[in-house]
């Protein structure tokens, strides 16, 4: 596989007559790469992430992820695609409050049809790796922000996706906790995990991404590559 992600001339218009959220954007991400997508509010960062995750469809252009054209898939196929190939980490965690930490982490594996034993084993391994194994039976409301984001990362990784998408992963955290999460993401990348970070925090991009793509008003406005 040459690229994990390939966007070609992608345009997204939410309402006819309104300016495009993304306008003819093209981009590629190689396996094992960490790419940060930066830009001011309304620049199209979250739209780009939604299109890569298969949460939304482009108005025009093609989106290929993990070797699969996803812009033409139906809802059921997109759901299968997300379960197998993509893990998503949200700014506000998006944990399900009425499920325990362990049940939150297990959920994507159960939805993907993984065997009970296999899913539990993988979840336990991830909870230990994230340092939150002792909270496995707690509810998200009892955890700190950093702990919740660790749960969210564990949940995103439970199906061993090729691609991890993180939408402002440190946006709701204090500086120290944000750095913790940043280090964790770097560790994951060191293990070969491809990562796309959407952020407006230059420090996060500088410290953890090998390449930064800037978006302004739906257009790519240059890229910075770090050694």
């Amino acid at each position: 596989m040459d690229e994990v992600i390939r966007l070609e001339s992608v345009t997204k218009i939410y309402q006819a007559g309104s300016p495009p959220a993304l306008a003819g954007v093209s981009m590629a991400v190689s396996p094992g790469e960490v790419v940060a997508v930066m830009g001011p509010s309304g620049s199209g960062k979250s739209t780009m992430l939604n299109l890569i995750a298969g949460l939304d469809k482009p108005t025009s252009g093609t989106v290929t992820v993990a070797g699969q054209r996803i812009d033409s898939l139906g809802e059921a196929a997109l759901a299968r695609f997300r379960a197998r190939h993509v893990g998503i980490v949200f700014q506000f965690f998006n944990l399900l409050d009425d499920l325990t930490v362990a049940d939150n982490v297990l959920l994507p594996a159960q939805l993907a049809g993984a065997s009970r034993r296999q899913a539990r084993g993988r979840a336990e391994e991830l909870l230990a790796r994230m340092g939150i194994a002792e909270h496995r039976d707690a509810y998200p409301a009892r955890l700190s922000g950093g702990q919740r984001q660790r749960v969210a990362i564990a949940r995103a990784l439970v199906n061993s996706p090729e691609l991890l998408l993180a939408d402002e992963p440190t946006g709701a955290l204090d500086t120290a906790t944000g750095q913790e999460i940043g280090r964790l993401l770097r560790e994951l990348n060191a293990g070969g995990q491809t990562l796309v970070l959407v952020t407006h925090d230059p420090a996060l991009a500088d410290n953890y991404a090998a390449r930064t793509v800037r978006l302004v008003d739906g257009h790519t406005a240059g890229a910075v590559v770090r050694s």
């Binding site: 949460l55 939304d56 997300r82 998503i88 009425d98 939805l111 509810y139 199906n159």
Partner: protein
């Protein structure tokens, strides 16, 4: 801010929540329509006979007089007798025998009347026009009962065999005649040599009991020459006959009306409090912009009030429309002329439902009004934290597909809403199970009353049900020939001759109708309430009215005077026979003296399996020949009462089930909106549309299973109580077989109605949720 502002703001919310407004409107439409229909039917079944009797100025007494003894002038003088408030007549009466298409078609008592309208017995013309020339006949009843406009009858036994053409159908509330012709035609049709007869119709100041009517008639008879009054009929006989049908409907109409009203209260409360709760966030925003608590309440009442008003108005129209065919059928069944929805029902139903709507909305609206803006915004977002967590924990450990487990645990997050859903589904399922049970019970009652399952053919002189006059007396040879023909038919499995007459029984004031069978009649299938069918000499079965009026019980003995003999009989069984008139059934051997040729009423015939009824009738009538007065006809399969009752039960059950389904739809919709963000997360984590559909449908599955468990015994109890009440009004007990209509397997199957209602209500919002884009759902936080 003016009061108009918040109202307009809230009204804008209706268009933003068109579906919820639509649900409110439709539920109120159904509730108001069912309330209107229920009230109309209650009014109609409450006293249809008396209402029609008053409207038609029914005759308290129909007196037959001999014109040779009482001249028209003498009869006219009776109008001014004390106690007589109105009178009509004298009308010439002709009793004629008729043929139709070469077959004997019975005896008609025809009265000669110039017009349908009259100060007494003001006839209702159902179809066609009044007789205004020779050869024209207006029949009692309605078309489509074997006779239609334009049909002809040939009058036999009169010179020239005049032909009468049916030009109209009319109803007389007290059945004063079988048909009407012009006065000149009535005079022409009177048979030469037969005694002439005239008819006087009276209304009296006091005619509430049989004794009072008898006393009134005696006053009239005393004012006329001796022997002038030859016979009379009391309006109370007709009232008793009509009440047997009308009053029996009351209990189940009341039962459905009550279910409908409770459902309406429940669903209106659920829909409206749900709508208010769902709008807390909006209210919070409006309050943060300066809305006062009072304005919030007004805004809310108007927010739900407009669709409610629309639903109520549409519902009252729908209720009136739905009531028309049912009332028309009911009118025809009672023979009481046209009935309509009473004006007070048209007013009371929508006003009541609107009041209910306001009450249901007021509580949540007041609560919203008194919440702080921040609280209102928070309350509108999510259920209270902690609720339902244990259920989710348990569901996660069950070996169920994960979407199903998530769905089953979800109702615990909103226990109040879940309880309302459960109650709505339980009421809906109860109504459906009750409807099936009641239909089965009534079907068994119909079969028992008409013996349609056992007696397929009746052989009567001049056919069944034609007129109330005396039967023509066939000769002994014709009787024997008829019985021989029946026995010779290969399709005959059973046949028995039935002898009928009135007898006196010690302890019962009036007469008792006795039915005596010449041979074994155990196959005729009378419904046994207690004891058994008689099987030995000296044993009889009796109706519930017999036991009630005599104070006797099964196992007791009674003294029966048949007119020619007095016999002591042993009561061995109570049989199903609705009505106030007491009945006794036995063999001609037991009821000595009844088995005379004069009392021979008809032959009952049971056919062998596989025998064609029409083929059998054709063969028997051909063998009897046109000269025999005996005619074989098919047994009726059920009365109009049962047809109306079944249609009504089906309609009411369907309405209640639809309302319950809409209640579920609304609840699922509210929950979907509450959890739209969670649904987005599920989708983002890879939940497929099919899995999401299963999860949302499972939100209602748990309450539906519980509702089924509640609905099954509730419906059985309701069915038994309703049948008991119906039987009480029909003056009869009920055989156990009528209530034993819910074998466990059938009940279990019927209980699935709860799941069907719940799934039907949930599937639409579940599909909408399943189709929604994940990104859209996530943005909807």
């Amino acid at each position: 801010m003016s009061w108009l502002g918040p109202v307009m703001t809230a009204t804008g919310g209706i268009w933003r929540h068109k579906l919820q407004a639509g649900v409110i409107g439709i539920v109120l439409l159904i509730a108001t329509a069912s309330a209107t229909l229920g009230l109309a039917l209650l009014a109609a079944s409450n006293a249809p006979f008396r209402a029609a009797f008053a409207a038609q100025h029914g005759a308290h007494a129909t007196i037959s007089a001999d014109p040779a003894r009482a001249s028209t002038a003498r009869l006219d003088q009776t109008r001014s007798l004390p106690g007589v408030t109105a009178a009509a007549g004298p009308f010439a009466v002709a009793t004629v025998q008729t043929d139709q298409g070469g077959q004997p078609s019975g005896q008609f008592v025809l009265a000669g009347r110039q017009a349908a309208s009259s100060p007494v017995d003001n006839l209702v013309l159902n179809e066609g026009h009044w007789a205004d020339g020779p050869g024209q006949l207006v029949l009692d009843g309605s078309p489509g009962e074997g006779t239609n406009l334009g049909d002809t009858f040939t009058v036999t036994g009169i010179d020239g065999s005049p032909v009468l053409t049916v030009v109209g159908f009319a109803n007389s509330i007290t059945n004063t005649a079988d048909g009407w012709v012009t006065p000149a035609e009535a005079a022409r049709l009177q048979q030469a040599g037969a005694p002439a007869s005239t008819q006087m119709l009276y209304r009296f100041a006091s005619a509430g009991t049989y004794a009072k009517v008898r006393a009134d008639v005696t006053e009239v008879a005393n004012a006329l020459p001796a022997g002038a009054v030859t016979d009379y009929g009391s309006w109370l006989s007709s009232a008793d006959q009509a009440t047997g049908n009308g009053a029996i409907m009351e209990p189940f109409v009341v039962a459905f009306a009550l279910i409908g009203l409770i459902m309406a209260v429940l669903i209106v409360g659920n829909v409206i409090s749900g709508a208010v709760v769902a709008q807390y966030h909006r209210i919070g925003v409006l309050k943060s912009l300066g809305l006062t608590p009072g304005q919030v309440v007004v805004a809310y009442l108007s927010r739900v009030g407009w669709p409610a008003l629309g639903g109520c108005l549409a519902g009252v129209v729908a209720g009136n429309v739905l009531a028309q065919p049912v009332l028309k059928q009911s009118s025809e069944a009672y023979g009481v002329g046209s009935q309509s929805v009473p004006w007070w029902a048209t007013v009371a139903a929508p006003l009541g439902m609107l009041a209910l709507t306001a009450l249901a909305a007021l509580g949540p609206a007041l609560r919203a009004g008194h919440l702080s803006a921040a609280q209102a915004i928070a309350a509108g977002r999510a259920p209270r934290a902690g609720r339902g967590y244990a259920a989710h924990r348990l569901a996660a450990r069950l070996r169920l597909p994960r979407p199903a487990g998530l769905g089953l645990a979800a109702p615990f997050a909103r226990p109040a809403r879940t309880m309302v859903t459960l109650a709505a589904v339980a009421f809906g399922a109860t109504a459906v199970i009750f409807a099936f049970g009641l239909s089965s019970s009534l079907s068994r009652a119909a079969a028992s009353q008409t013996h349609s399952g056992t007696i397929q053919v009746e052989v009567q002189p001049f056919g069944p049900g034609r007129g109330t006059g005396p039967f023509q007396s066939p000769g002994a040879a014709q009787d024997a020939a008829a019985e021989a023909v029946l026995r010779a038919q290969p399709g005959t499995a059973h046949e028995v001759a039935l002898y009928t007459n009135d007898v006196k029984v010690g302890g019962i004031a009036g007469s008792v109708r006795a039915q005596a069978f010449a041979t074994d009649a155990s196959w005729t299938g009378f419904g046994i309430i207690a004891g058994h069918w008689y099987d030995a000499p000296g044993e009889v079965d009796v109706s519930t009215s017999f036991l009630d009026q005599s104070g006797l019980a099964v196992g007791g003995t009674a003294l029966v005077n048949t007119g020619t003999a007095t016999v002591t009989v042993h009561i061995v069984g109570e049989v199903f026979r609705p009505g106030t008139r007491p009945y006794v059934y036995g063999s001609t051997q037991t009821l000595a003296g009844l088995g005379s040729r004069a009392n021979l009423q008809e032959f009952y015939v049971g056919l062998r399996p596989g025998t064609s009824t029409s083929g059998y009738l054709h063969a028997v009538n051909a063998s009897l020949g046109s000269s025999s007065p005996w005619t074989a006809t098919a047994q009726e399969t059920g009365g109009k009462f049962y047809t109306i009752a079944s249609a009504l039960i089906g309609l009411l059950a369907l309405m209640v089930a639809v309302a319950a389904g809409l209640g579920v739809l609304n609840t699922v919709l509210m929950t979907t909106r509450d959890r739209v963000h969670d649904l987005g997360i599920f989708k983002a984590l890879g939940m497929r549309p099919g899995q999401l559909l299963v999860m949302v449908v499972c939100w209602t599955a748990g309450p539906a299973i519980l509702a089924a468990v509640i609905a099954a015994p509730a419906a059985v109890l309701l069915n038994n109580a309703t049948l008991k009440a119906m039987a009480g009004t029909a003056h009869t007990g009920i055989p156990a077989s009528f209530t034993d209509v819910f074998p466990p397997a059938r009940l279990a199957l019927l209980s699935l109605a709860a799941l069907v209602i719940a799934i039907a209500g949930a599937v639409a919002p579940a599909s909408w949720a399943a189709r929604a884009r994940a990104a859209v759902a996530l943005r909807a936080e």
